[in-house]
Symmetry: C2
Subunit: 514 residues, 2 copies
């Protein structure tokens, strides 16, 4: 067997089942090895930003890494923005980047570049294989590194000759590291703080935002009156009927400050103290009151769910959590279609166990509000602020969870970044309904332009935020990539299109004219 | 004036006239400053890979830098692949990347990343401004660095507070560095070598591939019988009627070796010894015969054109160059449409002074052959191997040269990478005719899969190279972005569509079914 086959066998043996790929010449032996090994699904993306975003969506839902397959430095570079988002989401990914043969590097051929340099800012682990004899072991280490709690990107660089030369055997799977147990002193400190009468907020991130962790947090709230909060952009949040409702920190700095103004102590579970997304002239970056105590209950690599349960026990919290969402599907609105009526329609028809990939930006608040009491679902958000995540994230989530409906909510500006994902949805017949909110604008920037104090913007400045000229036509873009697409202009039209999409399987695109 | 305005004024004063942009919140003050300063055209791209590719196309044709405007690390990351190509093309670009305010960096907000880390592999010069008082001077230095012969990418990172805080005044333009003169000893050595009777090839790159340098090379050929060659992927080559025909080194390693087999001495003008694009098992990377002498006449930062003229004088070359192409437009073919008949049609109708942006890959040989004796034109090629260059390069070239017709020849696989460029073409009403060669395949990889020795590829491997499922529809994709688009299946249909596009101004897309 050659190095490539030893690597693919090792990956499969280590539990990696899917490879999101956009290969080139230097990856041809890896590609050929895919047919020699059972158990690795290969999914082609027509752009690497789509590929890495898919790996992120897969990892967030499967809770284990997919592999990527990228073509040298530029292929990696094209995937970096969504790897940045994945890094912020702490998603496990085995990020495989082909390289020139080791002996070819010295010639500085046109595609040569500093791959390690490109990889380092997004990777928790980077290694460039030096021999076909070690590639398998390097692969096992990459999977192990990717799964190191809470999850990270492990970049394995694969020089072509380490793939094509003879190897010996696959490497055995390495034992996975479990999330660290939280110390009893941290549990005691949080429990004690919850009884001191101060106004407390618990900010939760990571695995503890799933049902079990939320239930424990809700029990603590029931016992102590503490507020349970999450970041604006949580990687994955379980919401909807039957789940504890969590307070999402708002986006803008002044809203954050207002939301947190009364907090006297902040307990962190897998999270960091909230800071503003951007800096603004004369506005604070640090949004927790200066006088508030910051208490670290669980760090990101620790078991936040167990920590919350231990605290709930320590304060003798009741079994029933506070603030469990009842099922209350909104009535169907009629007439004007805007993000709020669209949100009501989505919440009305959203099936049990749906996955929402949310990059709706300024058009997303309506859906977020309306789905609070909708059927239980997972909500995935734009963790790193690098727009163009939503479509590929939805695509990867659909690969991870073929029996669940995926709904992608996307602004038109961001969706243009990685629209190639639609082709993969069509090719793999994935069950994704893509809602494109077409406001023909980088709408957030019209708000931000004022907020940063750039007064009286002129026509050139405003034109940089405006997507009206020419009008994008998402029906044509979607159909051009093989996805059934339709445009809606009224609530009734959207209700019909969305309900029909929820009843059928397979990719759909609905352009919502705002 | 604030830092942003001081920077924009400095850029305009230093000769930068165009800013290709995809801004975000942290760049809003720069955007607002665009209206306060006369003389900077702002062109929006809907994806940063389009933005940087446009800056490359502009720089290759204008021979001076455009500015980019990118949004933090992820915005830069999305533009890196085409910056890689621009680095290989030695194109001057002032690459401006917004960043968080200096004091905000400590909080590691979601969009924070190692921008310098991302920038370094593609940049000849990187600087992050630390004060609004120095931003203007930093901008002047960036333009100077970008124009350092032969041209490079100067990345200026602009923290938001250095843009919004008060500055003093713009900075004066710095004097530009001219290309270095070649030493007389280098000229003497080359002249002496040309008389020693050995079989000589002169490999030319950079500015010397324009008419004047080619004429000098042609005179040397006339006197000495030396072969005049260029790399497979020259950044910019002037070809067609009236220009000296140059021998283009072929793509595949074994063809390169065969082409160079008889060379006894290789004279380099702004070029490096040719090496294979990829490494292949059992095939050489180094393609010049081991016994050949390598003679450096001009390094890339030196004046290659003057060097060739000096050598021509030194060997008393005749005034008339050898191998000047006559004007011989091919007849119009009929019937089957393939890359060869398509190339004949293109060559037949190509107007004087056209610019060809060529990323046709396996479909490009037909046009390359057919246009040898077409009307004089500039040919821009994929310098760094990072696919997705052709459409934005054409877009930027059209901005630089509004009076010249731009023809973009593109494979369908690569065109999917940066298709967002079409929207900018429509928005700016640029005179670009985009030919998409639709073979529904990463066709080069079907060749490479065999060549690297990956034998008997299985269905999974082959599916990674195949774009048939689903079929892309470029007419819908083009129209979805506001570009008049048509599909052709016969030579007659293509001739009609192409000739009509050559007669009109404005963006067009023709999908050539292969």
């Amino acid at each position: 067997m050659n190095g490539a086959e030893s690597l693919v066998r090792t990956l499969v043996g280590s539990g990696v089942e899917v490879c999101f790929s956009n290969p080139g010449t230097s990856e041809m032996h890896f590609v050929a090895a895919l047919d020699k090994v059972e158990g690795m699904r290969a999914i082609l993306g027509l752009f690497e930003g789509a590929v890495t975003g898919m790996a992120d969506g897969y990892g967030r839902m499967a809770e284990k890494p997919a592999a990527t397959l990228l073509h040298l430095g530029p292929g990696l570079a094209n995937g970096l923005a969504n790897l940045h988002n994945a890094r912020r989401a702490q998603t496990p990914i085995v990020n495989i980047v082909g390289d020139h043969a080791t002996y070819h590097a010295q010639y500085d051929a046109p595609l040569a570049s500093d791959i390690v340099g490109f990889a380092r800012p997004v990777s928790g682990w980077v290694h460039s294989s030096t021999s076909p004899k070690t590639v398998a072991a390097d692969g096992a280490r990459a999977v192990h590194a990717a799964m190191q709690p809470p999850g990270q990107i492990a970049t394995l660089i694969l020089p072509a000759d380490t793939a094509w030369l003879d190897a010996e055997h696959p490497a055995p799977k390495l034992p996975l590291t479990a999330p660290a147990e939280v110390s009893s002193s941290a549990v005691d400190a949080a429990a004690k703080a919850l009884k001191n009468g101060k106004k407390t907020a618990i900010l939760v991130r990571g695995q503890a935002l799933k049902e079990q962790g939320l239930a424990a947090a809700g029990r603590i709230a029931a016992a102590s009156g503490a507020r349970i909060m999450c970041d604006t952009f949580a990687p994955r949040l379980q919401r909807g009927a039957g789940r504890v409702v969590i307070e999402r920190i708002p986006y803008f700095a002044e809203q954050m400050v207002e939301t947190l103004a009364s907090v006297e102590q902040l307990i962190l579970v897998g999270s960091k103290p909230p800071v503003s997304f951007f800096a603004y002239p004369g506005k604070p970056s640090w949004c927790t009151p200066e006088s508030a105590d910051i208490i670290y209950l669980a760090h990101p690599h620790e078991d936040g769910t167990a920590a919350l349960e231990a605290v709930a026990s320590a304060i003798a919290a009741p079994k029933e959590p506070a603030n469990v969402a009842p099922l209350q599907k909104p009535d169907l609105p009629k007439g004007a279609l805007d993000q709020f009526t669209a949100g009501q329609i989505i919440a009305h028809y959203l099936p049990d166990g749906a996955i929402i990939s949310d990059e709706a930006a300024t058009s997303g608040i309506g859906s977020m509000i309306a789905t609070t009491n909708a059927a239980p679902h997972d909500h995935l958000s734009l963790t790193g602020g690098a727009i163009g995540q939503g479509l590929p994230l939805a695509t990867g989530a659909a690969v991870a969870c073929p029996d669940r409906k995926v709904v992608c909510l996307h602004g038109d500006g961001g969706a243009m970044y990685t629209l190639q994902s639609l082709w993969t949805q069509a090719r793999e017949k994935l069950d994704v309904t893509n809602i494109i909110f077409a406001n023909r604008s980088y709408a957030i920037l019209n708000i931000e332009l004022m907020r940063v104090g750039a007064e009286n913007p002129g026509p050139k400045a405003l034109s940089m935020l405006d997507l009206h000229n020419p009008e994008l036509n998402w029906v044509q873009l979607g159909q051009g990539m093989g996805v059934e697409s339709t445009r809606v202009e009224t609530a009734e039209e959207f209700a019909e299109a969305f309900s029909s999409a929820m009843k059928q399987k397979g990719p759909r695109l609905i352009e919502v004219m705002l």
